[in-house]
């Protein structure tokens, strides 16, 4: 049974009590939240996810809204994962965003059975594009656009690289977008489904895009990385997809990895294998349409292996 097949009342009740358990790629996540208004957006964004009943949960998450008198003065919500509270409390209206950030935190803080890179990942025709970048590089926006032009969504945020064979595993979770990107995506992909837009305190608006059903359906299907592309969105920049020397790509990827330094030799090996198997580029763009066009063109060229090609 998928999340959307559960009657709304049942979903809301479960969310507040024993919690809702679902797959996020290879992980099982259980969320308990005493934030009733979260139920509707979660049902929407996670609608296609099959519910998990029983078995071992990887991440037990609790969203704890302040109770008692203070909840009227300054309603807040805290993210808790087995006693750890990695974030300061946030205003209650940011509960969904906090949950999404929190699930990401669980993965990149614990999942050292993979090499984890701060990157968006999409796949088409058996080849995956990995788009590593810091916040602000535009990778989430680019990712959201690509998945509405025929690419499968693996992740907008974390690349899970298998340590043995350097394949990349999906998470297929909602895509977080901010400010102008929300409107840009609405025009670019009118069919895209969004959760509520929240005006956040410090930096404008945030909203989450529902992962396409096909991506969710194929959540357990790994992909073979073909290209490592470091995107950089810059207003009015000329579009430029430039080959990147592999040693440089190695370092940039390691720099954007959550756990390269923890993995030691296995990390070195896995990242080497990844770089070996991928064409590496830096990518500057200002127009989403142009960017998608260039990347679509890239994929049809024969892939080269070995030293930088």
């Amino acid at each position: 049974m998928s999340v959307s097949e559960l009657p709304p009342g049942t979903f809301t009740r479960r969310l507040g009590h024993e919690g809702i358990a679902f797959h996020a790629g290879p992980f099982v996540v259980r969320v308990v939240a005493n934030v009733a208004e979260l139920a509707a957006p979660l049902r929407l964004l996670y609608g296609d996810l099959p519910l998990v009943e029983g078995g071992i949960v990887d991440f037990h998450i609790r969203l704890q809204a302040s109770t008692g008198p203070r909840r009227w003065l300054r309603p807040q919500v805290v993210f808790v994962c087995d006693g750890e509270t990695p974030f300061f409390p946030l205003p209650r209206r940011l509960a969904l965003a906090l949950l999404e950030w929190g699930i990401n935190w669980c993965v990149h803080h614990h999942a050292h059975q993979y090499l984890l890179i701060h990157a968006a990942v999409v796949e088409r025709d058996g080849a995956a594009l990995i788009l590593p970048g810091p916040p602000g590089s535009g990778k989430s926006t680019l990712c959201a656009a690509l998945v509405h032009r025929g690419w499968r969504l693996l992740s907008d945020e974390i690349a899970l690289i298998d340590l043995a064979d350097a394949s990349v595993l999906p998470l297929a979770r909602p895509v977080a977008l901010k400010n102008e990107s929300i409107d840009v995506l609405h025009s670019f992909a009118p069919a895209a489904v969004f959760g509520p837009v929240v005006r956040e305190t410090v930096k404008g608006a945030i909203a989450h895009m529902k992962p396409p059903p096909d991506s969710v359906r194929r959540m357990h299907e790994a992909a073979r990385p073909a290209a490592l592309i470091f995107p950089e969105f810059a207003v009015d920049a000329a579009i430029n997809l430039a080959p990147l020397p592999k040693a440089r790509a190695f370092f940039q990827a390691a720099d954007l990895s959550f756990n390269y330094h923890i993995l030691g030799e296995r990390g070195f090996d896995a990242l080497s294998r990844l770089i070996d198997g991928c064409r590496c580029f830096s990518f500057t763009y200002s127009s989403l349409d142009d960017a998608v066009g260039v990347l679509a063109g890239l994929e049809h060229e024969p892939l080269m292996t070995g030293s930088y090609g």
Binding site: V28, I56, H60, T85, L98, N259, R266
Partner: protein, 382 residues
């Protein structure tokens, strides 16, 4: 002395305690119990240790458990490497000094190749040096890239005047911490173990110019850390350390013969009494009856105080249910925290210190930041 009536830990700690006692217990755990085991083990910093011990059972465990164990072993291997490299760098930095340098705690366990070292996740290095050499040690470290951790002036003064160690030093490139001690307990403590005796009894290491405490001293230091050091957040892990040390050292009869006498000599009989009592009572550590009695004679407090500790210690040490944190446990920890500072400081100083700590700025300290984690991919602007 009456039979120990020690409070039972929360049922949710059951799988963890069972597996600590015998790794094969993993094979008999249900999915629900395995789920709870992973949670409790992670919260008590014991997951890596269990994962290492379970290596040979790997193939018979569910895939999810194997994945968590794999990640936990990776973390432990990284911390071990960091620790050893830090010791390597310290050897280079302190090479010119004639002073004996004694490794303490995790670094000691690792370099001495004690089984206890497996799965530990602390990479700070603690060293003990004779007090007259502390200036030279500090100077050498500063010259080799270590820097003082920024402390408020109050804390700096407090450290230098009262504490048993320099303010922590952080290496500017590696971001790792070294704590340089000149005694194992603060000057303000009511207990005064003589560091010169400990240094004199320290043993050489095979592959390092540094030394480690003699077995009895190592055990006593561990016991003291557990019961006199204020921070009880890792307490079960520390009791497991005591357990492991006792199990490792018990093979040599000489160890038991000197243990209580040494405790008396170093004024550490009280922590020893508690360590033996709770390791045996909560973890089933085999302690010879005569040693237990001798420790009680040497260090047990009044019967009412023992009874109170019997109630508080299990509550504070054992993890409560991860979904239903017990108020009792929190209260127990608070009581023990205040008490342990009481043991370390005269009360006037304590009142001033606690007041200062409550009013001063709280530094973000909760989450272990892994070296190399470039950012918290979290709420922007927060």
């Amino acid at each position: 002395m009456a039979e120990a009536v020690i409070a039972e830990p929360d049922a949710s700690a059951g799988p963890l305690l069972a597996v600590l006692a015998d790794c094969n217990a993993l094979l008999a755990l249900s999915a629900v119990d395995l789920d709870m085991l992973l949670r409790q083990a992670r919260r008590t910093n014991l997951l890596s240790r269990i994962a290492l011990d379970a290596s040979r059972l790997e193939q018979r465990l569910p895939k999810t458990v194997r994945a968590h164990f794999d990640a936990a072993r990776t973390l432990a291997a990284d911390q071990d490497r960091m620790l050893r490299w830090e010791v390597n760098r310290l050897e280079r930095a302190l090479a010119g000094l004639a002073a004996p340098v004694v490794l303490l705690k995790g670094a000691a366990y690792a370099l001495a190749e004690l089984p206890l070292a497996r799965g530990r996740l602390v990479s700070d290095v603690d060293i003990l040096v004779p007090r007259p050499t502390i200036g030279a040690v500090e100077e050498a470290l500063l010259r080799h890239g270590w820097e003082h951790v920024k402390l408020e002036p109050y804390d700096q003064r407090y450290y230098r005047r009262w504490m048993h160690e320099l303010p922590p030093l952080r290496h500017r490139d590696r971001n790792t911490i070294v704590d340089v001690h000149h005694r194992i307990l603060p000057l303000t403590s009511r207990l005064h173990p003589d560091p010169n005796r400990q240094i004199a009894a320290a043993r050489a290491l095979a592959d390092s110019p540094f030394r480690v405490l003699a077995p009895a001293d190592m055990l006593l230091h561990s016991a003291t850390h557990l019961f006199h050091d204020g921070d009880l957040s890792l307490a079960l892990r520390d009791l497991v350390d005591v357990h492991d040390l006792l199990v490792d050292f018990r093979e040599s009869p000489a160890f038991w013969e000197v243990l209580v006498a040494r405790a008396r000599e170093l004024e550490l009989a009280r922590p020893l009494f508690y360590a033996l009592r709770y390791a045996a009572g909560l973890l089933g550590t085999p302690v010879p009856a005569d040693v237990m009695m001798a420790a009680a004679r040497a260090g047990a407090p009044s019967a009412p105080l023992v009874a109170m500790m019997d109630r508080l210690v299990p509550l504070a040490l054992m993890p409560d249910h991860p979904d239903r944190p017990g108020r009792q446990a929190a209260a127990a920890r608070r009581l023990l925290y205040v008490r342990s500072h009481w043991v370390r400081m005269p009360s006037l100083l304590l009142a001033r210190h606690l007041a200062r700590k409550a009013l001063g700025t709280r530094r973000e300290n909760g989450v272990a930041q892994h070296r190399g984690l470039p950012r918290e991919a979290g709420p922007p602007g927060h």
